[in-house]
């Protein structure tokens, strides 16, 4: 049980990063179905940088820029080129899904995966002094690699940034009433650029976590729909940071459960692995359809700026 909960937190981490990055973008009025693509390029970058430089933090930093750059394509297409936001998102996903195996192939000779990063170069579990010794809880909350702590604190930081700062005010206005923002003398296009670049950087941490902390290499399409699950978590949380946080934990739990079920029998029956693997998606779907009801998105989301 303790292992299940600790694993839930680990699996919720990429979702947390991606949904918080997505939150900034969507609250600024840009639909981001390209969280998937942003995670892919940054996962690839982190794996390669960590492999060659033996420095995990450097990998995080470079991947941060690559994530912002990838989301920057989305920003350019939607804001400057006035492309449809969903279509632009598809573009980014296509490019990311194509370019990462192409480069892997060019550098390492096969498109499927990058070489494994040696254990010594990777992030280690950070035992928070004293707290990790608490029986049960300590293992669940206080014995993780560093990125997980950042992920757990991120929603609260985002909450502060969105609701308590001038930038947050502009961000919300850019999503709910870009025209009002424009008449106030602030360019909503610029606010959206800023939001997307920062959002892309946050999302990148999700990809980085997958390739150099959760596993030790980049594999083709390793995000496996997590970008979309993060998006659902965002909708489930009604585009607010703290409820989204809990939604991510819930989806992380569903994923952890899925992995555990693959090796255990339930009521003496071993379910076919295909069904179990589909479980997180099914749970997401049921949540989306059954419990969310009519979520009201930021008012101008999906709309081009005039």
């Amino acid at each position: 049980m303790i292992e299940l909960l600790a694993s839930s937190i680990r699996l919720a981490t990429p979702l947390l990063f991606a949904s918080m990055g997505g939150l900034l973008c969507e609250r600024a009025g840009v639909a981001t179905i390209c969280l998937e693509g942003v995670m892919l390029t940054s996962a690839w970058t982190a794996a390669v940088v960590n492999y060659y430089t033996h420095n995990a933090w450097l990998a995080v930093t470079v991947a941060l820029w690559v994530g912002a750059l990838t989301m920057g394509i989305h920003a350019f297409l939607t804001i400057s080129a006035k492309a449809d936001q969903i279509i632009s998102g598809v573009v980014v996903n296509f490019l990311a899904a194509g370019i990462t195996p192409l480069l892997t192939n060019a550098i390492f000779g096969a498109p499927t995966n990058t070489p494994s990063i040696p254990l010594t170069d990777r992030f280690h579990n950070l035992e928070i002094w004293g707290l990790s010794a608490i029986p049960g809880l300590g293992k669940i909350l206080f014995s993780h690699p560093p990125l997980i702590y950042i992920a757990l604190l991120l929603p609260f930081a985002v909450h502060f940034a969105v609701y308590r700062t001038g930038f947050g005010l502009r961000l919300l206005a850019s999503g709910d009433g870009p025209e009002a923002l424009r008449t106030a003398g602030v360019s909503p296009g610029r606010v959206r650029y800023a939001a997307l670049l920062i959002g892309g950087a946050l999302t990148s941490l999700g990809g980085t976590f997958l390739s150099i902390s959760h596993t030790s290499q980049f594999t083709r399409d390793m995000t496996a729909g997590r970008g979309f699950i993060a998006l659902t978590a965002l909708i489930f949380g009604k585009w607010r940071p703290v409820p989204t946080f809990f939604a991510c934990l819930f989806f992380g739990f569903a994923d952890a459960l899925q992995i555990q079920l693959q090796s255990t029998k339930v009521f003496g029956i071993q379910f076919p692995v295909q069904f179990i693997q589909a479980l997180p998606y099914l749970v997401t779907l049921v949540v989306l359809v059954g419990f969310i009801g009519k979520a009201i998105p930021p008012l101008s989301i999906g709309k081009r700026l005039g």
Partner: protein
């Protein structure tokens, strides 16, 4: 003539620009930048190459239409990938239930099964959108994962051909076979392109007629263009969304006709090289026009075929090149505003 040129010049410019960018990418990867052009030439202008290109184009016509019909109703169908597996397994299921039907009946039943299975899977997303307001993009993506898992289960357990190692189903019986063009007319020898190509072309013409010449198509497009105005005109928004997603799913399901009835005669796990997602690019390049989709499907068929050929010939480039190409083409076509705007400004400055 001028109208046709106006419609075509954007997509053509987009394709040319994408080819130029990918040539640069090839050079960056250490490959000759002309390798793509060479591959394109052989996939379009040799009988063998064109045969394969048309074989790949056939499913792309179906998935392109699957995306376009939904798009006309204002819905973004990213679920064609799942829907096409459902349609394909539908043929195998019907084929194994009724193995001894007379020829023509088997063909009709097989095609209907593909349409119906895919259509119901797509219609499910439409139902959820209409009744629960769930965003169809996320729903269809999630249904892809669930649908493909379901089909894989069916392939691996109840319908599996246990005499072979490969995860694939039992074969359907001969009445369900669609002949290849090489068998039927002696065209495109030793390539798998088959009569499903004609079915695809007919379907595209039918889709055009439905969308632009019938009251049902009119309603569907009205909902897509402005659903509030449609309500005031007495058009049911929900019903049309469900219809569009059903039709979209059905069209995607027809991919199975090419794959199962025309080519393999069985369903192999993971057979689709993302036909469903490429359908998005096919539809966008054609600006969702059914007849344009015929052309753009052939182009993407050729690109896919070329990427495979390049992967075979080169150790530096893998077949994912076609994903990058698709992304670039959509990007250029979708940002036509930028080009038109810059062109206008140039003209103004010149004047």
């Amino acid at each position: 003539m001028k109208k046709l040129w106006d419609a075509l010049k954007g997509p053509i410019a987009g394709v040319l620009l994408s080819l130029a960018v990918s040539a640069a990418l090839l050079a960056f990867l250490g490959e000759s930048p002309f390798v793509l052009l060479e591959a394109l030439q052989s996939t379009l202008f040799t009988s063998f190459g064109l045969g394969y290109t048309l074989f790949y184009a056939t499913p792309l016509i179906f998935t392109g239409l699957a995306v376009a019909v939904c798009f006309h109703c204002g819905l973004f169908n990213i679920g064609a990938e799942g829907q096409l597996y459902l349609g394909s397994i539908g043929i195998v299921i019907i084929g194994s239930l009724f193995p001894n039907l007379p020829g023509i009946l088997a063909l009709v039943l097989g095609i209907s099964a593909a349409f119906l299975f895919g259509g119901l899977w797509g219609g499910l997303a439409g139902l959820l959108k209409a009744k629960r307001g769930s965003h169809e993009v996320i729903v269809t993506i999630l249904l892809n994962f669930v649908g493909i898992a379901l089909v894989n289960y069916l392939i691996l357990y109840p319908l599996r051909n246990r005499t072979v190692q490969n995860p694939e189903t039992l074969e359907v019986t001969a009445p369900y076979f669609l002949p290849t063009l090489s068998d039927a007319f002696g065209l495109f020898e030793s390539t798998p392109v088959n009569l499903a190509l004609f079915l695809a072309v007919l379907t595209a013409v039918g889709a055009f007629f439905f969308l632009f010449r019938t009251a049902w198509g009119y309603e569907l497009r009205a909902v897509g263009a402005c659903n509030r105005a449609s309500e005031f005109a007495g058009i049911s928004v929900g019903r049309n969304m469900m219809l569009a997603m059903f039709l979209g799913g059905g069209l995607a399901g027809m991919v199975g006709v090419n794959e199962v009835m025309g080519h393999q005669h069985k369903l192999v796990e993971g057979f689709s090289p993302q036909y469903g997602f490429t359908g998005i690019a096919v539809a966008l390049l054609a600006r969702n026009h059914p007849i344009g989709i015929l052309l753009s499907a052939v182009l993407f068929g050729a690109l896919h075929n070329s990427a495979r050929e390049i992967e075979f010939l080169s150790d530096k480039v893998s077949k994912e090149l076609s994903l990058v190409l698709q992304g670039l083409i959509i990007a250029f076509v979708a940002s036509h505003y930028l080009f038109e705007h810059t062109l206008k400004r140039r003209k103004k400055e010149a004047a």
